[in-house]
């Protein structure tokens, strides 16, 4: 339970950051896809730099988890066809809704309740993927 509380707290922090940083805004996402502002590129760029530096430090100094375990830095398996094709469909949804998965949750919390239909439809999308995945290139 204590562990779940940790993830809940991390989620609260992450959701607050996404919202105060306007990352959950359809306007900001459109502005990004029109290359009209540096805002979203600055957000994603800084996040990747901090994330990548953290991973490098963990590797270089062989940092362990707080429980003394070796940290798992295994990459997701390379499935280039799935990455590019699935990624393209995902990007279409990102532009339409102005939200990727985390912002769907954050917008719901911010009082944009119709976003619940986006969540429902995304769950249906994942379910449909499972039905047809053996027929798709990966």
């Amino acid at each position: 339970m204590k562990k779940n509380l940790f993830f809940l707290v991390i989620g609260v922090v992450f959701g607050t950051i996404l919202t105060k940083g306007e990352v959950i805004s359809w306007f900001r996402i459109q502005e990004m896809f029109h290359f009209q502002s540096f805002h979203m590129y600055g957000v994603i760029g800084c996040a990747v730099v901090v994330g990548a530096l953290s991973v490098q430090l963990i590797q270089r100094f062989n940092i362990k988890t707080i429980h003394g375990e070796r940290i798992n830095l295994e990459k997701k398996p390379a499935q280039y066809k799935a990455h590019i094709l699935g990624g393209t469909l995902f990007g279409m949804g990102w532009a339409l809704t102005g939200a990727c998965p985390a912002p769907i949750y954050a917008l719901t919390g911010a009082g944009y309740y119709p976003m619940i239909t986006v969540l429902f439809s995304a769950v249906m999308g994942t379910f449909t993927y499972a039905l047809v995945k053996d027929k798709l290139p990966h």
Partner: protein, 185 residues
């Protein structure tokens, strides 16, 4: 004090803080940052199905559902309790563009003309929310990750596959923005 907390955060605060999610989850829980697999867990938990893709012990993986629950609360904190009362500081070019699309209220995070319940009485709600949501859920599982799992976590691990996925995100987003939206607005 409250006035200060209600201010929006610039990219150079927001970005590094999002990046810190990566080491926080690694060091405290040995987990990879991501959120889209929560859709799969919701399927596994809620939909009675024999599909092997959903035959696993989702309760063992439920940490991401707690993360999702936290994000909902965080959305309330940032978007309601500490809501920015002023219009968003979008670029002038963007404001001009949105005005031409019929949007002028930038105190809203998203245009309620598209993302309100009433837009289900027309085609807008079905395209933007239902089709959009479906593409997100289908696409993210096919690509095996979303903006968190690929763009932030995957790129932090210097995974070339994640770069391919991010390129896909932009191909799809740019296509909808520049090919579809000009037909609609």
């Amino acid at each position: 004090m409250l006035e200060i907390l209600k201010q929006p955060w610039p990219w150079y605060i927001t970005g590094p803080l999002i990046g810190l999610m990566v080491p926080l989850l690694l060091i405290f829980a040995n987990r990879h940052f991501g959120i889209s697999t929560s859709f799969r867990h919701i399927c596994a938990a809620c939909i009675p199905t024999k599909n092997p893709f959903f035959k696993y012990d989702w309760k063992k993986e439920s940490w991401m559902l707690f993360l999702a629950g936290g994000i909902i609360i965080g959305g309330w904190i940032g978007g309601d309790a500490l809501k920015n009362p002023n219009p968003m500081q979008l670029s002038n070019n963007a404001i001009e563009l949105f005005a031409s699309m019929g949007f002028s209220d930038f105190t809203e995070i998203s245009p309620s003309a598209i993302f309100g319940w009433e837009s289900f009485s027309g085609w807008q709600g079905w395209l933007f929310m239902i089709a959009g949501g479906f593409l997100i859920g289908f696409g993210t599982r096919w690509a095996n990750g979303c903006t968190a799992g690929h763009a932030i976590m995957g790129l932090s691990l210097l995974n070339p596959g994640s770069l391919v996925a991010v390129i896909g995100f932009f191909i799809g987003g740019l296509a909808v923005t520049h090919l579809l939206f000009p037909q609609l607005f």
